[in-house]
């Protein structure tokens, strides 16, 4: 038993040690942040020259039927089902596009690269992607460009020169502002808040968390950041993590941010099952279908998200425009079917619009 006791002491000591080393604020990346002004005045747009890449000797695809493959971060989650739906919708509307979605079953950079590589070989005309890692995906995308394939990103960007255009659902600082403002409104200016995210390595989430911290420091300085926990893209883990946070902080916890479309409904479920509806605010990114029960029960007041169906739709429209040659470097806007004209920002990005806030009143109108 002596060794056992020793082992127990060592492990507990280690836990204690790490506890001391813990910092309250985790989860963000270390890139520079660019928080928006508190009152929402848009920052002066800095005109930037086109910094995307160009395919080498693409064949003339104008008006011709093209094959397009969509490789999202992973398949089998509600969010990318919705983007895939939008892509299919746009393809059907255009009539001259043959589009399909295929990708890894877990958000794994290596597998995603392999998928894209295979589709390059099979000879598609266009690739749509949502990158698991902006840098890791770059070489294979550059290879696609070299083979004359049109490459357009959405949702999660790569380095600019590795793709032609990127459809940006909403700027990081915009999302951050919407989330933090909603939280301050629902939970109070001095609320203690925690974050449930996927993993610390997921670029978009890490970026949002960094921007949220920066924005809150500037505009809601009294907000207390309690903790960030990882929960993969796993429903049950997210639920368990959120529950533990609720149990740990008790009444000190006034709000939970859900950073993924998995974490937000699971956190809402945790609050519901803990009987804390109305005492703990849930603000986060999520798809409306998963959130309807909680919004209708008034447990969740607002869900922030762009419309992912629109995002997929826009990405497909942009790709068609690029293939047809109607979208050229230097353009300031692009026509995107039913979405109308979309604005070009940051040189080679196309902005979908501001993030949308679903509430009890409007959530019934959406089905994705």
């Amino acid at each position: 038993m002596k060794k056992l006791t020793l082992a127990a002491i060592v492990s507990l000591g280690l836990m204690g040690g790490s506890a001391l080393a813990a910092s309250a604020w985790t989860g963000g990346d270390d890139l520079p942040t660019n928080p928006l002004a508190c009152d929402g005045t848009p920052a002066a747009a800095v005109a930037k020259p086109f910094d995307g890449g160009m395919p080498t000797n693409p064949p003339d695809r104008k008006g011709k039927k093209i094959t397009v493959v969509d490789v999202p971060k992973l398949i089998g989650i509600g969010y990318f089902n919705a983007t895939s739906k939008g892509i299919a919708e746009a393809a059907a509307e255009l009539g001259n596009v043959d589009a399909k979605t295929d990708g890894p079953t877990k958000a794994n950079i290596d597998e995603q690269i392999t998928f894209i590589d295979n589709y390059i070989t099979s000879g598609v005309d266009g690739i749509l992607f949502a990158a698991n890692d902006p840098v890791a995906i770059a070489p294979v995308l550059k290879k696609a460009l070299e083979k004359g394939i049109n490459v357009v990103g959405y949702d999660a960007n790569s380095t600019p020169e590795a793709r032609q255009w990127f459809v940006n659902q909403a700027e990081f600082n915009g999302i951050a502002k919407a989330l933090v403002d909603n939280m301050a409104k629902e939970a109070g200016e001095d609320a203690g808040v925690a974050i449930v995210t996927s993993t610390f390595t997921t670029p978009n989430q890490a970026r949002w968390i960094a921007e949220m911290g920066a924005y809150a420091a500037q505009c809601h300085p009294k907000m207390k950041w309690l903790e960030t926990v990882e929960a993969q893209e796993d429903n049950n883990l997210s639920f368990n993590q959120a529950t533990t946070l609720i149990n740990k902080y008790g009444d000190d916890l006034k709000g939970i941010f859900g950073m993924t479309s998995v974490a937000t409904p699971a956190s809402a479920e945790a609050v519901t099952q803990a009987g804390k509806c109305g005492k703990i605010a849930i603000v986060g990114l999520a798809t409306p279908n998963a959130m309807k029960p909680y919004v209708e029960k008034d447990c969740v007041k607002s869900v922030v998200l762009w419309n992912p169906v629109d995002l997929g739709y826009a990405a497909m429209m942009v790709l068609r425009a690029v293939a047809d040659g109607t979208l050229q470097p230097g353009a300031t806007s692009v026509k995107a079917g039913k979405l109308g004209d979309l604005q070009v920002i940051n040189g080679s990005e196309i902005l979908l619009g501001s993030p949308y806030t679903f509430t009890r009143e409007n959530i019934g109108q959406f089905d994705f």
Binding site: L12, M15, S18, F200, E230, N240, P293
Partner: protein, 324 residues
């Protein structure tokens, strides 16, 4: 062979300690964890937190019961995570499509039993190692699930379907299931011929055959039983939340296997108890929760968990060496 082990007059306590060594180690670890974390953060000991630790991880403990039997019988199943994902999806789909709730519960369980009985048949009669068959099964179930659902989430399940959220006598039903199934499995393994045959086949297959046990049928039976437990785990998993993801829960099989092994089931077969595996599953759940309570930096969480597993394993090894 220690002298005490041979003397017929040794005390019952000592026999108990040597017989259930690993279970006691795990139990003590849980107690130590509660004492230390409770001292640092009293909220850890609140009944709501303890309830959620148990309820949120009961399905892992239940799956580990079946896995323990498989390992005791000298086999292994690396596809159990995928199977649970498939069961959850079938159950959710049936419930949403309006089938009666008893069907939504029982059909997926029967499916799990059938699938695993098939795996068991293959393992028993072709002598292909179970790790190979279940590695293949893992691929088939995982790929098949995604092909069939395309990852469409299942929502809007009827309230009466959500068995895991019911709270008879104020305690979550998942906890009732965990306790009851562990008890039933323990009694079953101890007091039935089939239960003893599991140990016999895992300990010495040829001896089992000579003792009049049919090893093939036992292996198939164990796999089918494992299917039953995985099925129940899958139903609890499906009904815990309002959303079923329709995918394979990541790394679930590793968690389940680790729980069985840390709970004292010998990876070589023939020894172990389901009480140990349930305790180990609870220990993991407690560690997961305790690390958050202790403010262990989330970055280092997994490293600490790995270190603790390693410490448990080494302590067990030291204990066994002394017992020898």
């Amino acid at each position: 062979m220690s002298s005490a082990a041979l003397s017929p007059g040794r005390s019952n306590l000592r026999r108990f300690l040597t017989g259930y060594g690993q279970e006691i180690v795990v139990l003590l670890s849980i107690a130590a964890l509660f004492a230390v974390v409770g001292a640092v953060s009293p909220r850890f000991l609140s009944d709501t937190n303890i309830n959620s630790i148990f309820a949120g991880n009961a399905y892992i403990a239940i799956a580990a019961i079946g896995m323990s039997m498989i390992i005791m019988a000298g086999h292994i199943d690396v596809s159990v995570g995928a199977l649970i994902g498939v069961i959850a999806t079938i159950a959710g789909t049936l419930a949403v499509k309006g089938y009666p709730v008893w069907m939504a519960w029982s059909v997926p369980i029967l499916f799990a039993i059938a699938v695993n009985a098939g795996v068991g048949t293959l393992v028993a009669y072709t002598r292909i190692p179970s790790i190979v068959v279940t590695l293949g099964m893992l691929s088939i179930l995982k790929g098949g699930l995604i092909s069939a659902t395309q990852g469409e989430w299942i929502t809007n399940m009827p309230a009466e379907f959500m068995i895991a959220q019911m709270r008879p006598f104020g305690i979550p039903s998942a906890v009732w299931f965990m306790v009851a199934l562990t008890f039933i499995a323990a009694v079953f393994l101890r007091y039935t011929d089939f239960g003893r045959a599991v140990y016999a086949v895992g300990g010495n297959m040829e001896a089992a055959r000579a003792a009049g046990i049919n090893p093939e049928r036992t292996v198939i039976g164990v796999f089918a039983l494992h299917g039953l437990f995985a099925g129940i785990a899958g139903i609890l998993f499906a009904t815990q939340l309002q959303v079923i993801q329709s995918t394979v829960p990541p790394n679930l099989e590793l968690t389940v296997i680790t729980a069985s092994v840390i709970g004292g089931v010998s990876i070589l077969g023939g020894a172990g108890t389901v009480i140990g595996s349930t305790l180990a599953a609870i220990l993991f759940a407690c560690i997961g929760s305790a690390l958050i309570f202790l403010n262990v930096s989330a970055y280092w969480l997994r490293a600490v968990l790995g270190l603790m597993i390693l410490a448990t394993v080494l302590a067990d090894m030291a204990r066994r060496r002394r017992a020898r």
